[in-house]
């Protein structure tokens, strides 16, 4: 959960990618998951009437992959 980054910093090597903060692997997976969930929820509320939810899944997986790889 959220607090874990603190402790992990010593164990994992952190780095600074395009995200504004210094992150390690755990942080990036965490951010990816958060965005994945948020996008789906917002999509269901505002966009699903027009565009199917699979687009959201694809899109968020893509964003997640970019964040994990480059963040």
């Amino acid at each position: 959960m959220a607090e874990t980054e603190n402790g992990n910093d010593k164990a994992n090597k952190g780095r600074t990618g395009f995200l504004p903060i210094h992150t390690n692997a755990f942080d990036r997976v965490f951010i990816g998951t958060v965005i994945f969930v948020a996008l789906h929820l917002l999509w269901m509320r505002f966009l699903e009437a027009h565009i199917p939810l699979y687009v959201a899944t694809l899109l968020s997986l893509l964003i997640g992959a970019v964040i994990v790889a480059r963040g």
């Binding site: 959220a2 607090e3 980054e5 504004p20 269901m44």
Partner: protein
């Protein structure tokens, strides 16, 4: 060298209990959240329904308004506590007589059961008994009825939370202030900085880790407040103070709509984690500071 097996054995009961009562419920709620499961429906067994529960949830106005109210409550309560707590901590930094005595009194609310806090505030605010409605009406002509006016109920829950938890903020900030080195302040005074400048450029940055930890812990607690509010207003009038924990507990539970309730619980947990993480990230990285803890 010691054998690590014994170490793990000593740790095992703790890990076992935390897993059975902490992780298992979490996994369970995760699974149930994707199921249609109503104990009193025609078919009382769980079925996998994908994201159906969440689709319902994002259009559930009652739930969304409970969320917004919780966020408002948390924001106002924690903000007032930090401001008031800082003020009181600064005052206690001076050589006040009876310092220890004041501190003891202020630790008291921290130990009181939340449900008893709710009870005391109910006794204070109940019309016809409590001094608060009586004197507000007598001196200011304000009709104070928690059961009638939504705004009053909302504000009173915040004031109650401030009463309950400001001492924690005061004492943590006091600890932070007491450990600060004196030299930067003396130097700034020699350089002719005014009080506001000293506060903004020296006190605040140095106190930041403490403030951060306090806000973080307080926000987590404020967002999950149930007992006090339940005792004081019962979530009313209407749904004015039905914060999200109360909503899950009082509205979802009696309906035995387990799948939907699980989805609601999960979304609440998700939002709590995201909020705290955002706060953490925003406060830690805004300026270049050495690591928070």
């Amino acid at each position: 060298m010691r054998s690590n097996t014994i170490g793990w054995l000593l740790l095992a009961p703790t890990l076992l209990i935390l897993t059975v009562f902490g992780v298992v419920p979490f996994v369970y709620v995760l699974v149930v959240g994707f199921a249609d499961w109503n104990a009193f429906a025609a078919d009382p067994t769980p079925h996998f329904t994908g994201v159906e529960n969440y689709r319902r949830l994002v259009f559930d106005d009652q739930f969304l308004s409970a969320l917004w109210k919780t966020l408002g409550f948390g924001f106002f309560a924690v903000a007032s506590e930090v401001v008031l707590g800082y003020f009181l901590a600064q005052l206690l930094m001076k050589d006040v007589p009876f310092k220890g005595f004041f501190r003891t009194i202020h630790t008291l609310p921290l130990m009181v059961a939340p449900i008893a806090v709710g009870a005391t505030w109910r006794l204070l605010t109940v019309p016809g008994l409590g001094p608060l409605p009586y004197y507000l009406e007598r001196w200011f002509g304000i009709e104070f009825r928690l059961g009638t006016y939504a705004d009053q109920a909302f504000v009173t829950t915040i004031i109650m939370d401030v009463w309950h938890w400001t001492p924690l903020v005061t004492l943590t900030l006091l600890a932070g202030l007491a450990t600060m080195p004196k030299e930067p302040f003396e130097q700034a005074q020699i350089d002719g900085a005014n009080k506001l400048q000293i506060f903004w450029h020296i006190t605040l940055p140095m106190l930041k880790p403490t403030i951060l930890a306090t806000v973080f812990i307080r926000l987590m607690d404020a967002l999950r407040t149930v007992d006090e509010v339940w005792m004081l207003t019962g979530g009313g009038p209407g749904a004015a103070t039905r914060y999200v924990g109360l909503h899950i507990w009082r509205v979802v539970f009696p309906k035995t709509d387990y799948g939907y309730g699980a989805a609601m619980s999960l979304l609440t947990l998700y939002l709590t984690i995201v909020m705290c993480w955002l706060l953490y990230a925003a406060l830690v990285t805004r300026r270049e500071l050495p690591k928070a803890e």
